[in-house]
Amino acid sequence: MFAFMSLALLVALVFSLFRALRGPTVFDRALASNSIGTGVTLLLIVVGFLNERPDFIDVSLTLALLNFVSTLAFLKFWRHGDLSHVGEEPVE
């Protein structure tokens, strides 16, 4: 069961890696990198169960939080050009 899961996750990771290398805009790459982070988080848990060492769940918990925060920080930097921006929208 865990081998099947890891196979499916690896296929999905290859697809996401293709988009991250190819993507025409930077937002495509951000989307693909977020997707790769989610896949790696799941793959760490599955590999931990495969080797009968479920302690890897702690690592993947940290990785899930870091992936979330880093994607938001990357998007904020590309949107405002400054990480300490207040976040107010320009009025159109």
Partner: protein
């Protein structure tokens, strides 16, 4: 008895979740532009990781590991919509609009008409 039922149910969740996950990643390479890609990935990846983690919770039983997996599940359920919302707003702010993408695709269709296998009827359908 209860072990075999648990294994059966978690196999169901594994196949369901893996199917959704792989289809979402396939949409990431097959969809034509940014917003459709975002739609494919954010929806199906949330569902796929939800089912995969539910299957692993069923496998690990009533232990500390299932509690950790539950927290990872909560993080995924929150972070997926947050990230796709921020990504869509950042892309709109940067000047990428879905409407422009649509126009570009229609122009591609008419340009490829004279020297391709697209018939005039199909090209006129494409223009509408």
């Amino acid at each position: 008895m209860i072990d075999s039922v648990l294994t059966l149910v978690s196999w169901f969740f594994v196949i369901f979740g893996s199917f959704f996950y792989v289809v979402g990643a396939f949409g990431l390479i097959r969809m034509p532009e940014l917003f459709t890609r975002m739609h494919a990935v954010s929806v199906s990846e949330t569902v796929g990781s939800f089912f995969i983690i539910i299957a692993m919770i069923l496998q690990s039983g009533w232990s500390l590991n299932s509690a950790r997996l539950f927290f990872i599940l909560i993080i995924f359920l929150f972070s997926g919509p947050f990230v796709s919302h921020a990504l869509a707003r950042a892309a709109l702010f940067a000047g990428i609009s879905p409407h422009d993408m649509e126009k570009e695709m229609v122009e591609d269709c008419t340009q490829s008409y004279p020297h391709s296998h697209v018939s005039p009827e199909e090209a006129s359908e494409c223009n509408q």
